[in-house]
């Protein structure tokens, strides 16, 4: 911990350390019952696993200032479930698949990412908003089938991730994926 906050310092968007985990404050409301002490009703989102909790804090409750650092790194390769990234000084960091989640399917060699470290451990990897991937497998789009509202079909990209794509997308096509949602964004037309 690099310092302290009290509950009175909390505000939306502030990052705090609580019970040894980094949280971001997503909701904050001041209440003060009758003749009582100030109470801060908060919702905190854990930066490690995304879980949220609702808590009532009192003015003298103390939070740490989390030791957080953001670094720009480049993806180089993976060994099984371990993904190796390199910073500008060619120093390597291994990030496990559990931290990357589905993002690991969207990586490509030399992909520039932002890695968030908490107490020197990588906890979050932010990719470019859009990445391009090639479709490895999908059924040809069945024309005339759109009346049922079924305008997408399943597809698999090179590397194994599955997502719904529009009917006109074919095997071998390059598509853009929005890495924030993991959803299809666009088809990339190649000559």
């Amino acid at each position: 911990m690099a310092g302290q906050y009290t509950a009175g310092d909390l505000r939306k968007g502030l990052k705090v350390e609580f019970e040894k985990k980094p949280y971001v404050v997503t909701e904050f409301n001041f209440v003060k019952p009758g003749k009582g002490a100030s109470i801060y009703n908060c919702r905190l989102k854990c930066m490690l696993d995304g879980t949220t909790m609702q808590r009532a804090f009192r003015a003298n409750d103390i939070f740490g200032v989390p030791d957080l650092e953001e670094k720009t790194m480049r993806y180089s390769y993976n060994e099984g479930d371990n993904y190796i990234f390199m910073d500008v000084n060619f120093e390597q960091t291994t990030i496990p698949a559990t931290v990357l989640g589905d993002s690991r399917y969207f990586l490509f060699e030399d992909c520039e990412v932002t890695v968030l470290f908490f107490n020197n451990n990588p906890v979050e990897v932010t990719l470019p908003t859009f990445v391009e991937k090639v479709i490895a497998e999908t059924q040809p789009g069945a024309r005339g089938n759109t009346a049922a509202g079924n305008v997408t079909k399943p597809a698999k990209i090179v590397g194994g991730y599955e997502l719904p794509v529009p009917l006109f997308v074919n095997e071998g096509d390059t598509i853009k994926i929005d890495t924030r949602t993991g959803q299809y964004s666009d088809r990339v037309l190649r000559r």
């Binding site: 009175g8 409301n29 001041f30 209440v31 003060k32 019952p33 009758g34 003749k35 009582g36 002490a37 100030s38 109470i39 009703n41 009532a56 009192r58 003298n60």
Partner: protein
């Protein structure tokens, strides 16, 4: 929405506010109350355990008009009311603003039970008066005030909603957490509820119940779940009052909060004799919120000033 549109859209609630004030004044003047104005900028703010005063030059802004009004009571003016601004440092939220309007009234010879009867008559009258004037721009929630009121002891509602007895086993932190987390959320949204008889430690400036010193003669009124007013059978014992001020001062010092000098003029007035009295403090902004069904002060206040920093 730009500022002009936002302010123009507030016209119905601003009109409602004026009508509320007018109905309140009519009610008290008919009952032979004197409307008073006491200093807003005070040499000594009322010391309370958890209320912080806003400094104003070499003085403070009042957190409540209580001590001055009690000096008038002690001087023999038996029925007093006041409508005016009060200030509480650091209180900002959907239902709090550092500057707000208070209606406060005192009645000599009355206790907190009498004051409960009086606030019920007041609020029914106000709700009905503003409904009649409503021009269709706002839906006035008169029913919150006209439906039968519920009166329940703090002990009973804590036993039911939080599963413990806060009078027999008082614990400040647990009391306040459960009040906000369990008791208040359980209150009905469609009517008024008065919670009665607080643990003595939550008594503030209330007298203890004769024959039951674990309880303070205090109630809090909730309108549709919104905390609206607080009342006491006022403490008139100067020695006990001094002791409480000193205790809160010590507790405040220990936690690093500002400690105010004792208000000796008020203590002298108490010592010279203040009649047994009932007093009520009501948040006017919140009353308008409850009447108009507004969720936050942002829907009511045309301006919310922020501090320098």
């Amino acid at each position: 929405m730009d500022e002009r549109e936002r302010l123009a859209a507030l016209a119905p609630v601003l009109r409602l506010r004026g009508a509320v004030n007018e109905a309140i004044r009519g009610f008290f003047l008919e009952r032979d109350f004197i409307e008073v104005e006491t200093p807003v900028r005070v040499a000594v703010p009322a010391m309370e355990r958890h209320i912080d005063a806003e400094p104003a030059g070499d003085a403070w802004l009042r957190t409540s008009p209580e001590l001055h009004m009690k000096r008038l009571l002690a001087a023999g003016l038996p029925r007093l009311f006041q409508i005016g601004p009060c200030f509480r440092k650091g209180e900002r939220g959907e239902r709090h603003n550092p500057e707000y309007s208070m209606l406060e009234w005192y009645r000599a010879g009355a206790d907190y039970r009498v004051m409960l009867t009086e606030i019920e008559a007041l609020l029914r009258r106000v709700a009905s008066a503003v409904r009649l004037r409503d021009e269709g721009a706002l839906k006035i929630r008169e029913e919150i005030f006209s439906r039968p009121w519920i009166v329940e002891s703090v002990r009973d509602i804590f036993r039911r909603e939080a599963g413990w007895d806060p009078v027999a086993h008082y614990d400040e932190e647990r009391f306040e957490r459960d009040l906000v987390g369990r008791v208040e959320p359980s209150l009905p949204r469609d009517r008024c509820v008065a919670l009665l008889d607080y643990p003595a430690a939550q008594g503030a400036l209330a007298r203890l119940k004769p024959g039951a010193a674990a309880l303070a003669e205090r109630w809090e009124l909730y309108a549709g779940g919104l905390e609206l007013a607080n009342a006491f059978s006022e403490l008139t014992d100067a020695a006990e009052q001094r002791r409480r001020f000193e205790t809160w001062g010590n507790e405040r010092r220990a936690e690093g909060s500002a400690v105010y000098p004792l208000d000796e003029a008020f203590l002298a007035a108490l010592a010279a004799g203040m009649p047994p009295s009932g007093g009520v403090a009501l948040g006017l902004d919140r009353l308008v919120m409850a009447l108009a069904g507004l969720r936050t002060l942002d829907d009511l206040l045309p301006f919310r000033e922020v501090s320098k920093q």
